[in-house]
Structures are given as structure tokens and as C-alpha cells.
Amino acid sequence: MYVAGAAAHEWARWPDKSSLDMAEDVFTRALEDAGVPLADVGAVVSASSRFEGGLGWGLHANELLQQVGETGATAINVGGGCAAGGIAIGTAAALIASGQYDVVVAVGAEKMPMGFIPRPPGAADSLSDTDFLRWIAIGASNPAYWALEARRRMHEYSTTEERFAQAVTLMRRNGVENPRARFRSEPTPDEVLGSKMVTDPLRLLEICAVSDGAAAVVLVSAAYARHLNVPLVEVAGAAMTTGTFGDRSVRIPTISQNSRPNGTPTSEVRGAVDRALSLAGVDRADVDILEFADNSAWHILAWPEQLGYLAPGEADAMIEAGILGNGRTVFNPSGGFLSYGEATTAQGVLQVCDLVWQLRGTAGPLQVEGARLAQTAVLGLGSNGASIVLRSVD
């Protein structure tokens, strides 16, 4: 199957737009990009936000279809926290692979609350809900989890605060020419180190902000694609996984971990990355671009290692060398979450849009020359992981 159309809203704060306005914008533009009429859309899969829209019930696909045209198409709303966008695309791909539909649109549109991502309304306040416990018993924000990982890394791998700051500079440098990114400047390491401490050792510029954003992709079957006269990108592998027992990470929003010496850190994402590569029948060494969720400076160093693109402890030397990549694969040419700011449920769809443009060769100043194979990696609350492998079409 193929991605035939993609559209993304500019990432920023959009106080005068609703998430539905933004979803409508990217949905209609993605269909135009694909040259596909609304009547041909068999299903809409929306990443379901807990913060706005969806009639308060997470019914974002239904709300969108009622807005753009009541065609009778299937509406599917998927949860997955910050991985919901990746899971929406994975679900859309499965709907096409099953033969049920020829055209499925995956959408993520998000308006974020101010400040630390809070506990969503409506959840039960019970002992079994660790997202309740972490607030009432510890007062731990999401960046506190990343900070615990960052300090542990400083002890285990001798990573320095300066190295974290340099990593931010490199990531933000990638985003300077990204027309859809919210933060298009390149702070120096000194400016990063001089920004306000949020969760020691992580500072304001070392933690991704929250933004409003929306993105959509149009997936089509091979049979349907033959009727289209637009550039196609193959969906070579789409995987959705959860974490495994013994994971050595400090998982949001737990209050304890059963860490095992042979446990896989960030197993929910590693599992998705491995599975997507396997489904595509390719190795990491074949991948030209990896777009991963860089929620903090720690992620820039740790995730390429945990996802198997660098050996454990190798990222410090990568940052010291002034590159984001392993010599074969380029990491986050978009500038990543640190340049966009995270619009949680839309982020996994945006990653795919960015890679579609790379593989079409239309990424403009962000273009990685000769890119033919690319992979996304995203993590969501509740131990959700998703990864999509995309391949260019000759």
C-alpha cells in the first residue's frame, strides 16, 4: 500500500482555531494532495485526544466526518497517548491490508493545555491508577521522569550537562529551515545551559514545549493507486507494540519498575521499530532517515542507542562530533519535537508526513539527498509504541 497524500498544519499556538478546524484543514489538503475525492474515502482513523474536541468522547473521526461530509465512511478513534498518531496510521494500514478499504485517511489534530501536561479529566482516582498516584504521592511531571533518566545516564556513561546542551543545539539547528516548525532558531549550548532549570538536570530549552498542530495522510491500496497520477511512497512496514516485562526505563506514569538486567529499555518503541523493519524486510543499515520522539535532550542521546541505531554509550561521541546520525542513517532532519513542540496525538502523523516529503524528494531545505528508506519511532502513555517504515517508489 502507499501514501498518496500528506498535509500538515504549521506547528505553533493557535488560540483562534479549534482542533476540528485544524483537522479539517489537513484532511482536505491531504485529499487534494492525493487527488482523491471525499466519496472514495472508506474510513477515517483519528488519533483520539484527551484535551480537546471529539465531542468530549474522543470521537475525533466522527466529528471530522460530520464537518467535511456525511458520506457514511467508517470512523475509528484510536487512543495511545502520544503514540496515537503512529497507531492511527498503523490501524489505517491494517484496514487496507485486510482488503476492507482502498482509501483510508489517518488524522491527528491537537490543541495542548498550557504548562506541564496535566492529568486528563474524567479518570478514576484509584490506587490502581498510577497516573493518579504519581501526582498525589510524588508530584512528578513528565520531565521529572526524563530527568531521572538523564542523571542516571550521567552516572552510567559520564554524559555531561554540556553534552546534553550540545545535543539540543544540533537538534534545533536541523529545525531552523523547517517552515512548519515553531522554534526556528539555534540556541548555543551556553544559551541552553543558561535557560531556566525545570527538572534538574534538564532545563527549559532541553525539554520539548507543547504546541498545537495537525497532520493527515491518505493511504491507498495498490489497486487504487494505479488510478492515481501522484507521487507515491510505499508503506513498507507499520507496527504497534506495547512494552515488555522487565523494561529498564523509568516509564511515565508509573511509580515503580520491575527492572531486570536483561530487560529492554524503552521496549514499547524498540519492539515497534524491530517489527516494522521486519515487516519491511529491511535492516537498520538500509534506513536513510530516522525520525524519533526527542521529548528531551536525554532522548537525543538515549533513543538512537535504545532503538538499535547506535551502540549503548555511543551517542556522546556522536554529539561531540557535531552530528545527528550514525554515518549511515540521518536522525531527525525535521528538527524533531524540540523544534516543533509536541502536539501529542498529531506528532506520529507529522513524522510520516515529513518522511513522505523526504522520500518524494520535495523536502526543500530539509532534504536528505538520495533518501529511499525511512522510519518513524514514537512513544505514548500506557507503554505504547509505534513505528512506520516508508520506502520510495521508482
Partner: protein, 151 residues
Amino acid sequence: MPFRKSVPVIEGLLDIAGEVGLLASVCITCDTIYLPQTSRCHDPLCLGVEVETCLVGRTGVLLSWTRQVYQPPAPFRMDNWSPHLIGLIEIESGLQVMGMLATDDEAALAYLGAMVLTTRSLYLNDDGDDVVTYAFAPAPASASALHGAAL
């Protein structure tokens, strides 16, 4: 000074009736410990499912820490809040627990340093009770030796 009763921030998380302990579950088959309490073992490779309640967490070692510099949003509640330290403590083999630290002095902390469980006051509730959570404090030298023996 009037007697003020202490109550846990949520029933079932910590036992403060005697020496403070964390209320956990232990798998009777594979000995894995779970915090908070759970109804069954989560290890897919374990052949058993049954768990029983246990008390854990009196000593451990500090794996990492951070200072939460900005006030967390509700439902977090703490009277006279000021930036607080949060630690990651390995309290039993493989069980790593996040918790508030009882000290605000980062200089008192050391990587792999010995820690002991205590409580920390959060706020006075409508009944005038002192609502407390669990917290870890740097261990005095003698407790540190004890922990080493226990491991």
C-alpha cells in the same frame, strides 16, 4: 500542642501505623514485588498468578534524582510547596521505586547512596489531619551498613 493525626495520601499505598512501609504485592510463585498493590503477577513467563500483600521499601540505594523546580499541577497538593527532590530508589532486587525525597539538600545525595523510607507531610485536610506521602531520606551510616548486610 494538640495531637495531630497523620493519614496516608491514599489508602493502600503506605502503612504508617507502625514503622512506615510501602504496601506492595508479592507473587507467591516468582517473588516479583509490585507497587502499588496488584491482583496478579504481571510477568508473562511466570507460571503463577496469585499474589499476597507485603510491606517493602524500608531501605534501598539511590539510582538517580531530580528537583521538580516548578509546582506540579493538580491533583498534586502540598501546603507551602517549594521545589522538591524526587528520587529513583532500588529497594529490593529489581524493584525500583520513584518517590519524594525527605531532604531538600541535593548535596546530601550520592549515586548508589543508601536511603531509608520515611514519610513527608503534604497538607492538612479538612479534618485537620496531616496528610503524608512516602519519602526516602539519606541513611545514617549505621543504616547504610545494615542495608549492605540485607542485600
